[in-house]
């Protein structure tokens, strides 16, 4: 099984890769920091991966996406699974003080992800099979006071993935849109913990299970689906009272 991971040392992506390694998967890992990529790659091989190559790249640089996608598509035997997991939680207050920061955050989380999705669609569509897994967030389901810059980016990611799913279905390629709630990873390290947090490993198990059955949109854990259904339906006055 050939797996390409974008944002390979992010918490959920690394755990997904760890779950696939014992099956003898071959990995191509993309991320910004070569040292971190190497650490993740060695871990996967020790756990049973057939191989784990790394490619350091600034995933926010959309001009490089065509080449990266092409490299992923060229994995020997074909690309079976592509996982897009890069993204950063911006400092909401800083973004409000400086809109340029908001634009940059949006560029990284939304523009970058959209570009990467569309770039990867090409080799997958050409091959006529495979799975694309995109990690978005429940934050994209409705804008909230506390994280709407991040939420806006994730809303873009979600809509793009939904449309892409419809385009790629006839080509035999599934697109799984993942909407996690709070997950214990480096990205959320600075935030206060609450009872809704789940370990990255648990999130990864749910993500892979969904990807394997070719699920469309999956909330992680599943109980975020009814919660967000309620949140989306809340009248504005009630929304204003939420944190």
């Amino acid at each position: 099984m050939n797996v390409a991971v974008f944002g390979a040392y992010s918490g959920m992506a690394a755990e997904c890769a760890r779950l696939l390694a014992p099956r003898g998967a071959s990995f191509l890992l993309f991320g910004r920091d070569p040292r971190r990529l190497e650490i993740v790659a060695a871990d996967l091989v020790a756990r049973g991966a057939a191989s784990a190559r790394t490619r350091a790249a600034d995933l926010a640089d959309v001009s490089a996406h065509a080449a990266l996608a092409s490299e992923a598509g060229a994995m020997e035997g074909g690309l079976d699974l592509a996982l897009i997991a890069h993204g950063r939680l911006p400092d909401q207050s800083a973004c409000e003080r400086d809109p340029a920061l908001a634009a940059a955050a949006f560029g990284n989380d939304a523009t970058g992800a959209v570009s990467l999705m569309l770039a990867l669609a090409k080799p997958l569509e050409a091959r006529g099979r495979g799975r694309l897994v995109v990690i978005s967030s429940v934050a994209g389901d409705r804008g909230r006071r506390s994280n709407y810059v991040y939420g806006a980016a994730k809303a873009a990611v979600s809509a793009c993935a939904e449309g892409l799913r419809q385009r790629l279905a006839p080509a035999g390629v599934s697109v799984t849109l993942v909407k996690p709630g709070w997950v214990d990873t480096a990205m959320t390290e600075g935030l206060p913990r609450n009872a809704l947090y789940v370990p990255a490993r648990e999130a990864a198990e749910a993500i892979l299970a969904a990807a394997e059955r070719g699920a469309g949109t999956v909330y992680v854990p599943w109980w975020w689906r009814p919660i967000m259904a309620v949140v989306r339906a809340l009248p504005e006055a009630a929304m204003r009272r939420l944190p």
């Binding site: 014992p22 993740v40 020790a46 390290e189």
Partner: protein
């Protein structure tokens, strides 16, 4: 790495806690955090030490659980290199399917490699394999001055010896290389033998020469049945396949202090049923080595007041008298001991300066925390251990007095020059043991 907090960290026995800042490195090439003026550092694994050996009040706890990457695994030669925050549970899942096992394992899988090294843990096979530190080829030590030292028997050997069993006081171990043991099966063949007295127990200890693993449970509850118990002798089977253990599922409820009944017994289910029927049986490694892991959070069964464990070494040449006295004292105490585990330690030396085991008998007694009454009993046990020129085990301790700490670590003065001046622990302070 960023520093957050303050956070309250509590020991496994729930009798000691510390408010400290926390750093949680995710990448082993990161520099150590710089503590605030006057504060110290201490590594913190999975928090399974029973007392305050792993706590640094007012300091910065370096949580190692995110340093959980494997580095390499040579499945032909059984050599694994991994970051120090890798948990034994996780490591077993990787190496067992390839026919390898830990050469020495403590009674729980929920500890980190670094924690196993810092306490130089021992297992049921000490008489054959010695301590964990004997099987560590090398490790990297990150010191507060920013230096990284590769340590082994031949490279920085003094730092190697100081860090094994060094209670985290020499710096942060980032990665280590471990030699594993080959297994043909994940099953063990276990012989269960009953004994009726301490003398009978001691006579049985020599039987452990014929077995890889040996441990005894003793009934210390009533004076009439003193020294009655069962001895388990185990060896890995030659056949039966390789089955990795399953995940811990049950979460222990928090019971009112003092109520310890059927749920705890259920956790020992497999071994209890063996104990009732002397003879030979085949069991999986999980209930044999890790009877308590099956009940996640079992330390909460003792309720909010927690529990204390007293583990000591009664050394050769003659532990008989002290052992009888120890058990007599324990059984006379009002609440008695829920669990008393005995094991014969062999004479294989550890490379660690501060290592606990030595040839003799180790006794491990568990008591619900009884406040002053419990402390009075412990002082009487201290006297027994002292008169026997024995030791107490830091990983289990929450209260040993300063003189007991120094006599339990007779090579402390050799150790001091290698301790890192920016690292410290609540236990070291409580013991008043010298530091650099």
């Amino acid at each position: 790495m960023s520093v957050r907090g303050p956070v309250r960290l509590t020991s496994w026995g729930r009798t000691a806690s510390a408010d400290c800042l926390v750093a949680r490195p995710r990448w082993r090439h990161e520099a150590l955090p710089v503590p605030p003026p006057g504060a110290c550092l201490l590594p913190y694994g999975l928090g399974r030490s029973y007392g305050d050996v792993g706590l640094v009040p007012g300091g910065v706890a370096i949580r190692t659980d995110a340093l959980d990457h494997l580095i390499s695994f040579d499945a032909e030669r059984g050599l694994v290199e991994a970051e120090a925050g890798v948990c034994l549970d996780d490591l077993l899942r990787v190496v067992v399917p390839r026919g390898w096992f830990l050469p020495v394992t403590p009674g729980t899988k929920r500890v980190t490699l670094g924690g196993a090294l810092a306490n130089d843990v021992h297992g049921k096979n000490h008489h054959k394999a010695g301590t964990f530190g004997r099987h560590v080829e090398r490790f990297e030590l990150l010191r507060s001055d920013g230096s990284r030292r590769d340590c082994s028997a031949t490279e920085n050997p003094e730092l190697f010896a100081a860090t094994i069993g060094g209670l985290g006081l020499t710096g942060l171990v980032t990665r280590l290389a471990l030699r594993l043991s080959r297994i043909a099966s994940t099953d063990l063949i276990v012989d269960t033998v009953r004994f009726g007295s301490v003398d009978e127990f001691l006579a049985l200890t020599s039987r452990d020469r014929a077995h890889e693993h040996a441990v005894a449970w003793v009934d210390a509850l009533s004076p009439r049945r003193l020294g009655r118990g069962v001895y388990f002798f185990g060896d890995h089977a030659e056949d039966g396949g390789l089955r990795v253990h399953g995940p811990a599922r049950l979460a222990a409820p928090e019971l009112p202090s003092g109520l310890l009944g059927r749920p705890a017994a259920a956790a020992f289910n497999t071994l209890y049923s063996l104990a009732k029927r002397p003879g030979r049986a085949r069991v999986h490694y999980d209930p044999f080595f890790y009877p308590l892991d099956g009940l996640e959070g079992w330390n909460r069964l003792y309720g909010r007041r927690g529990f204390r464990q007293y583990q000591c070494l009664l050394p050769d040449p003659d532990p008989t008298g002290p052992l009888k006295e120890l058990l007599a004292q324990a059984s006379r105490a009002a609440r008695g001991s829920f669990l008393c585990v005995l094991k014969r330690f062999g004479g294989l030396p550890s490379p660690g300066l501060l290592s606990f085991p030595a040839a003799g008998i180790t006794a491990c007694l568990d008591f619900p925390d009884d406040g002053a009454r419990g402390e009075e009993l412990f002082r009487r046990l201290d006297a027994v251990v002292r008169d026997a020129r024995g030791r107490q085990y830091a990983a289990k301790d929450a209260r040993m007095p300063p003189d007991a700490f120094l006599s339990s670590h007779p090579r402390w003065h050799e150790f001091v020059p290698h301790a890192d001046p920016a690292f410290d622990s609540a236990m070291r302070r409580r013991a008043g043991a010298p530091r650099p």
